[in-house]
């Protein structure tokens, strides 16, 4: 039989926006802009023979449609088959054995965290990734001791945001990164200069100095294309759940246990709380299932399954489903109004 049924590879998933669409390439970790008319052809007419698709549009746009297909074949996103039954779509189910996937732990002037308690609680819930943000300057010895503690637990990756100060130099921090392979990133914020190593960002062991100051949890919640993540795990998670808050637990600078440090609602002192008990409280997980299909504006955005989210800083504090306040993208125009300032290179 002739191969004339155009099919997207199962890892290439079209997402429609208000003014344009994208195809997310979960295997090669990238995306491609396509017009909404092509989105319609790829989804509404999936599994049809090319000639049938031409006929659907009264053979008025054969050349254009053919050009679209040629373009996608060239991008290795589309192929032709003779039996679409052999090529089903991928399941969009998401599942994870980690009750908690990631955690933010903030450090302020008043912090008195019981690190052993916090880390053992996180480990027990299967959490393998933590982010530590310090709004105040801490010595090299402090970071050294903290990393030694972290090494005793099953933590795979650590992201550290530390305030610039004496003793936190390139050389000393580089050796910290070398000593602890769990370090994914050290970002020295409030630095008088900007610097990052050649080849940044690498898979692990990154070090950078940034002039941007992170003096409280309010710096968070920025939405930017530089935070897009495109892979099978995050895409299916974003499809089903909140792409920031799902399976997250945090400790704010005052030691309060929260879903995210920027949230108002707290669930007791982290030092004295059994984290697993907190997860059972309905209020704690109430935002976990808010995916972008429910969020105003985001629901019409083509980036909605590869973008981050923020439910703490939103445009209308009275509407929990309103757009993140720090997002400058307008899906109706397909335009970023202004480029957001971020602390990452």
């Amino acid at each position: 039989m002739e191969k004339n049924i155009p099919i997207l590879y199962s890892c290439c998933i079209p997402v429609k926006g208000a003014s344009r669409s994208i195809v997310c390439d979960l295997q090669r970790k990238s995306f491609l802009y396509i017009p909404n008319s092509l989105y319609e052809i790829l989804t509404l007419h999936r599994g049809k023979r090319k000639e049938e698709i031409f006929q659907t549009y009264d053979n008025q746009y054969n050349d254009t449609i053919q050009e679209y297909f040629d373009f996608l074949v060239e991008q290795e996103m589309l192929f032709y088959c003779d039996d679409s039954e052999r090529f089903p779509k991928m399941s969009m189910d998401w599942m994870s054995p980690a009750q908690i996937q990631d955690s933010i732990i903030d450090i302020g002037a008043e912090s008195a965290h019981d690190w052993d308690h916090i880390l053992s609680q996180l480990e027990g819930l299967g959490c393998r990734h933590i982010q530590v943000r310090s709004f105040v300057n801490k010595s090299l010895d402090f970071w050294q001791e903290l990393m030694e503690k972290v090494s005793e637990y099953a933590i795979i990756s650590v992201e550290i945001h530390m305030k610039h100060g004496v003793g936190l130099e390139k050389e000393s921090l580089n050796s910290l990164v070398q000593t602890f392979p769990q370090i994914f990133l050290i970002n020295v914020h409030s630095s008088p200069f900007t610097w990052f190593a050649e080849g940044f960002p690498r898979r692990m062991g990154n070090l950078q100095f940034s002039k941007v100051s992170i003096d409280s949890e309010t710096h968070c919640g920025v939405i930017s294309p530089s935070f897009f993540i495109i892979n099978e795990k995050t895409f299916t998670e974003g499809w089903n759940h909140n792409s920031c808050l799902n399976r997250k637990i945090s400790v704010d600078q005052y030691g309060m246990l929260k879903n995210c440090p920027s949230m108002v609602e707290a669930f007791g002192l982290a030092n004295e709380t059994d984290f697993e008990e907190v997860l059972k409280k309905e209020g704690f997980t109430k935002l976990w299932n808010i995916n972008k299909d429910q969020v105003e504006v985001c629901k019409s955005c083509e980036f909605r399954y590869i973008c981050t989210d923020c439910r703490a800083y939103i445009q209308n504090p009275n509407d929990p489903l309103s757009k993140p306040a720090k997002c400058n993208y307008n899906p109706a125009l397909g335009k970023w109004e202004t480029v957001a300032e971020t602390s990452l290179a």
């Binding site: 590879y9 890892c11 991928m90 054995p97 299967g126 099978e232």
Partner: protein, 330 residues
């Protein structure tokens, strides 16, 4: 308790263990680098009591409710006292090795009595490609035309037919390491060469028996993960890249070949299921080719093949499936 025999580094094992932890199922993982230090076996009226001690680990087979033979081995250091006649010591060493080999075989046979994924028994696990080709054919699957030659003239006669053939290993991939200028180099190669390329090398009139197979013009390759009669298939469009037309493992950027979720025709699924049943395997990775002329051609089965690549690209959640199967067994 769930017993896992594995290699030290194996992402799939770690991922499955995360799920076992999630299910709150106790497990014992024994890596191939760990040696048995003592053994206590006792015959009982209907079965055996078997207790092993490894460094820091104790295994009582009575406690094992499910077992996953992933890779790895049960190992024991075979030592002979120093001193004495070297010729006799050598013979004694061989004898003790034989003693251990039989004991090891017995241990794996008893493990096979436990509900399990995979099978550590040597005759099943050390898959023989030639025997499996024969078996696949018996089960109704297409296989490539296959020859074993040891004379150059036979190879040349095949070349003169004008059809395309490839040379292929009879056993597993070859891995070698060597030292040069203070560095140790390691190379593992499974790469198959065309018959012309093979003949262009300095081949004597007689050579070691070598496997030659017809080169199949492929539309795509298929990787099938088989688990307890369920099949999870993925097509690999390796022909997109010139360099990978013969074997997709030659691809410089692993993962760049286009992979797509695949549903096998029922008739092929049934034949594969029959093949695995006769082989006595409830888990394995099967390689097939879909030829340009529309045939499904069986190449080989790997009882302990990697599956996270298939799982991730098709969102099959195979790590969960394996853990869930172990949970159901226990």
């Amino acid at each position: 308790m769930i017993l896992i025999l594995a290699e030290t580094i194996d992402k799939s094992v770690n991922d499955v263990i995360d799920w076992l932890t999630y299910f709150k199922l106790p497990f014992l993982r024994i890596n191939e680098s760990e040696f048995i230090q003592s053994i206590r076996i006792e015959s009982r009226s209907h079965d055996w009591s078997i207790k092993l001690e490894l460094e820091g680990k104790k295994l009582d087979l009575d406690d094992v409710k499910a077992y996953w033979y992933r890779r790895g081995d049960l190992k024991m250091a075979v030592k002979v006292a120093a001193g004495g006649e070297p010729v006799l010591l050598e013979q004694l060493h061989f004898h003790i090795q034989d003693e251990w080999a039989k004991l090891r075989e017995f241990l794996f046979a008893r493990l096979a009595d436990i509900p399990s994924i995979g099978n550590g028994l040597i005759e099943v696990n050390a898959a023989n490609k030639l025997k499996n080709l024969q078996l696949a054919k018996t089960c109704g699957l297409d296989i490539p035309k296959t020859y074993i030659f040891s004379k150059k003239k036979h190879l040349q006669a095949l070349q003169e037919t004008g059809e395309s053939y490839i040379l292929k290993g009879i056993s597993e991939i070859i891995s070698m390491n060597w030292k040069e200028g203070g560095n140790t180099y390691y190379q593992a190669s499974s790469h198959t060469v065309g018959i012309d390329e093979g003949l262009s090398l300095e081949v004597g009139d007689h050579f070691f028996p070598s496997c030659i197979q017809e080169k199949i013009e492929k539309e795509y390759e298929l990787r099938v993960f088989f688990l307890c009669n369920e099949l999870f298939a993925m097509a690999i469009f390796s022909q997109l890249s010139e360099a990978t037309q013969t074997d997709n493992r030659m691809e410089a950027y692993e993962g760049q070949n286009r992979c797509t979720l695949y549903k096998l025709p029922d008739t092929i699924s049934e034949k594969i299921t029959r093949f695995m049943k006769v082989l006595g395997l409830n888990c394995g990775s099967i390689d097939l080719i879909k030829s340009v002329d529309g045939r499904y051609i069986f190449l080989e089965v790997n009882p302990v093949g990697q599956f996270n690549y298939v799982s991730e690209n098709c969102n099959y959640q195979l790590e969960f499936q394996v853990a869930k199967t172990l949970k159901d067994f226990s």
